[in-house]
């Protein structure tokens, strides 16, 4: 059959993806595609070359980028649904439920919530819907105007469904992930179901968490922190490689085996009978190693790792030095070193909420410059710096933008736009906020010793600046509040940050809080700017009466918030959650913005710290610490918080006993806890 015949038969012949009517069409298509995902290196190079020569295509590509920014600024105009929407919807659901046929065939498979708990709730559920609907419509609960804040009133009913005298707290299904040391230099990836915890007053009777489904993982770097993607099994491992420098490696975590019904080995009734949980053995014996990865032999009877449980999930770094020597094994996961030969700075690294980016701070391992913020986009081979001043550190994500902070001026008002960190030949890229404009002063400008070869000189206390960066374009905009390491809650209502001065360390390369306090306060958003790419989004929403910055009052909110419910306390008072001085901190919100965990580094041993769990009430703007919530518990760096759980590793115990994974889990009105058996080299997957 002739080609014409085929065309006639099938109508339109589909074009091959790499078949273009013209190079201009190809360029414009690729320019649009590049906005959502990086192009292949060859295609990106071709596009850049074409755009350099073709003014028309370049103009269109720029328009795509500009239009995209303008479009995304509509996020600031999130309208508020009617207050009675839930009442209407609940009534509709009730009618719908009544109209459903009595028999609907075989029941669906269970989801996360435990069947017994739901069965116990079945009589309450319909009543709950009606009661909550009535409460919302009558204003008792207020509107559900803020995503995830007043969510899941039925979950509250679920917790109330458990008899108060019960010794266990059902917290819904959820998993906790951690790494432990295995033998032969490998690590064990553990996943444990945690759906029942013990009240705080029943801890001595509480069974210990056990996982018999660990997967063996081999890493070419000794991990310090592990971050799992919020959307899949991909993880980022930050650790020290064989050269002694830090590396950031992307791996695919092994998929855990199907977990048995009672994988925690806990007895919700509080029984201490645990036939499936062996007694922890005496202290394990460290094994000397010649490589960079320390190997610790686990006792043979420790259930976390058993030979039969081990699965082949070796994760070898694909860095040139590692990958050339290792033949791929069947089923072997791949790993990619997205940056090497650096020193990771701080503990605030994290995935973006959509799981498409990972941000962290790092500086050259040779100490030649201070830190910059790096981002890695899923699918890319390398991380890239989005700041170039060698003085910036990542703090948190604000939607799809990176929130960072840097030190710019002295607290005395002495102004100097130079970054306090040594960065030979580099120019600061930030703009000093108007209130920090240089003032004539006889004092010497801020300076920092240039490198490790010269003796470090202490520097004065400096004032920080916070800023937003678009990870795609690296464009920056300063925030209203000059503060250090602001961590914004996912709903953009509140922020926890260091308010005060910052001291650059003796090495001249790192900074830490100096004089001030760790404060929770309303998130005020960015400064208004004349940058045409940013300014439209910063126009205040009509319902908000604002004065443009720099005269903007600290209590005003700019239109960057996702909700404008008047019931949400946007002007709540600042609250000190940790009074200075503190050595360092790591603060993280849960996905609802209602729970906040803060880890404060020990001033003498920064490898230890104190961890606390706080609750934030969006309706009042107040912070409290529920009964049973961890308060100043000793914890290793790195914790995870989300989906009603806070997990951390406690320091190794006496007698050589390993760390324990500690988990606090909560419902709307109760907080309980559970811990694992000892785990060597425990690292919580964040």
């Amino acid at each position: 059959m002739s080609p014409r015949g085929r065309i006639g038969r099938f109508g339109r012949v589909r074009r091959r993806p790499d078949s273009w009517s013209s190079p201009h069409e190809r360029a414009r298509t690729r320019a649009a595609e590049r906005l959502v995902a990086p192009l292949a290196a060859s295609e990106a190079a071709w596009l850049d070359g074409h755009l350099a020569d073709c003014e028309s295509c370049r103009s269109i590509a720029e328009a795509y980028g500009t239009d995209r920014l303008l479009l995304r600024q509509l996020r600031d105009q999130t309208p508020e649904p009617p207050r009675d929407l839930w009442a209407r919807t609940a009534a509709g659901i009730e009618r719908e439920g009544a109209a459903l046929p009595l028999a609907r065939g075989p029941g669906r498979k269970r989801r996360g919530t435990s069947l017994p708990a739901l069965s116990a709730l079945s009589g309450l559920a319909v009543v709950g819907v009606v009661v909550v609907a009535t409460a919302i419509s009558s204003g008792l609960l207020g509107p559900v105007g803020r995503d995830n804040v007043t969510a899941s009133p039925s979950i509250a009913l679920a917790s109330l469904g458990i008899p108060p005298q019960s010794p266990a707290i059902a917290v819904g299904a959820g998993k906790v992930h951690w790494l432990g040391a295995a033998d032969d230099g490998a690590f064990a990836y553990n996943v444990a179901d945690v759906d029942v915890v013990c009240p705080i007053d029943r801890q001595p009777d509480c069974p210990q968490l056990v996982d018999g489904h660990a997967k063996r993982v081999t890493l070419t770097a000794t991990p310090k922190f592990v971050f799992q993607s919020p959307i899949d099994d991909q993880a980022v491992v930050m650790g020290t490689d064989a050269t002694g420098a830090d590396a950031v490696i992307v791996v695919t975590l092994p998929t855990p085996d199907p977990t048995p019904e009672a994988s925690t080995g806990t007895d919700p009734a509080g029984s201490t009978e645990r036939s499936d949980v062996p007694t922890p053995s005496p202290a394990p014996t460290p094994t000397p190693t010649s490589g960079a990865t320390p190997v610790v032999e686990l006792p043979s009877d420790l259930p976390i790792i058993t030979p039969s449980d081990l699965a082949s999930a070796d994760l070898a770094s694909s860095s040139p030095s590692a990958s050339e020597d290792q033949s791929p094994q069947p089923g072997e996961a791949t790993a990619t070193a997205i940056i090497t030969d650096v020193t990771v700075v701080g503990r605030s690294a994290s995935y973006s909420p959509d799981g498409m980016w990972f941000a962290f701070s790092a500086r050259p391992a040779d100490g030649s410059a201070g830190p910059d913020i790096y981002v890695w986009h899923v699918g890319d081979l390398q991380a890239r710096a989005i700041t170039t001043d060698h003085a910036s550190v990542f703090a948190s994500w604000v939607g799809g933008n990176v929130l960072g902070s840097r030190v710019v001026v002295e607290s005395s008002g002495l102004a100097d736009a130079s970054p306090p960190f040594e960065s030979p030949g580099s120019e600061p890229t930030f703009e000093v906020p108007p209130e920090f404009e240089p003032q004539p002063t006889p004092e010497a400008p801020v300076s920092v010793p240039p490198g490790p070869s010269e003796a470090p000189t202490p520097v004065p206390e400096l004032v920080p600046q916070a800023f937003l960066v678009d990870p795609w374009t690296s464009m920056e905009i300063a925030l209203i509040d000059p503060e250090w390491q602001p961590v914004v809650d996912p709903t953009l209502l509140a922020v926890v940050a260091w308010q005060g001065t910052v001291l650059v360390g003796g090495d001249g390369l790192t900074a830490a809080p100096a004089t001030g306090n760790l404060v929770v306060h309303p998130f005020h958003g960015p400064l208004l700017t004349e940058d045409p790419l940013f300014s439209p989004s910063l126009e205040p929403s009509p319902e908000l009466s604002l004065t443009p910055s720099p005269e903007v009052s600290v209590s005003a909110s700019v239109g960057v918030t996702t909700s404008a419910s008047p019931e949400i306390m946007r002007d709540f008072p600042s609250q000190i959650v940790a009074a200075g001085p503190i050595a360092d901190f790591d603060a993280r919100w849960d996905e609802t913005g209602s729970w906040l965990a803060i880890w404060l580094a020990d001033p003498i041993d920064p490898g230890l710290g104190r961890l606390s769990l706080l609750r934030f009430d969006a309706l009042t703007g107040l912070i409290d610490r529920p009964i049973g919530a961890p308060q100043d518990v000793t914890a290793l760096p790195g914790f995870s918080i989300g989906f009603g759980r806070l997990a951390w590793a406690s320091p190794p115990g006496q007698g050589g006993e390993g760390s324990r994974i500690q988990i606090a889990a909560w419902t709307d009105d109760q907080v309980g806890a559970i811990e694992s058996i000892p785990v060597e080299g425990a690292i919580v997957v964040q």
Binding site: D67, P81, A125, V129, V144, P153
Partner: protein, 186 residues
């Protein structure tokens, strides 16, 4: 497993979904249809349909994309219905129907070059842009919500960007042509 148990689980689950996502679903429907009351009605419909079709949700972690898929279909159904039904032209003010302050605020929200340009492009392209850029759906979520393959979703998004660029240019040209005579009269 009893039917009653299923209903209760569905009610609880949808209630939780509502608490978490109703604001963004409402915003999406409002951006698609530009009518606050209609968007509220369709948001209600979307959650009722979520309850009715609870059994089709395979993984709870995909609930948000699943919800957007329902909302998207609800929106497209409404748009198709509008294309069939010709409403009587509304002329003049209704007695005692002065626009509320809320309505004025909403109108202000929906004004502007970008909103008008969005309204000019095909609805599926508009949906793709809104879901990807304003509602942060990933590529796979976008494909799921739109009911197309990942590749098709990406192509749709690419076409949408070009349509938006042209629509914005048309909006600006129209604005300039309106502004020019007024300047001349001055």
């Amino acid at each position: 497993m009893s039917d009653v148990w299923d209903r209760d689980e569905a009610a609880i689950f949808v209630e939780m979904l509502f608490g978490r996502h109703h604001t963004e679903i409402y915003a999406y429907l409002l951006r698609m249809l530009r009518e606050p009351e209609l968007a509220a009605d369709l948001t209600q419909d979307a959650f009722i349909k979520a309850y009715r079709n609870y059994e089709t949700l395979e993984k709870p972690e995909n609930a948000r994309a699943w919800l957007y898929q329902i909302a998207h279909r609800v929106a497209l159904d409404e748009i198709r219905r509008r294309k069939i039904i010709r409403f009587m032209p509304w002329s003049g003010e209704s007695p005692g129907a002065a626009p509320s302050a809320e309505r004025l605020v909403m109108d202000a929200h929906l004004s502007g070059d970008m909103q008008r340009a969005l309204a000019r492009i095909p609805e599926r392209q508009r949906a793709a842009l809104l879901l990807a850029e304003l509602h942060d759906l990933t590529g796979l979520e976008l494909a799921s919500a739109l009911g197309v393959s990942h590749v098709a979703a990406r192509a749709l998004l690419t076409r949408a960007r070009e349509s938006l660029r042209q629509a914005l240019a048309a909006e600006r040209a129209a604005e300039a042509s309106v502004a020019r005579p007024s300047e001349e009269t001055r």
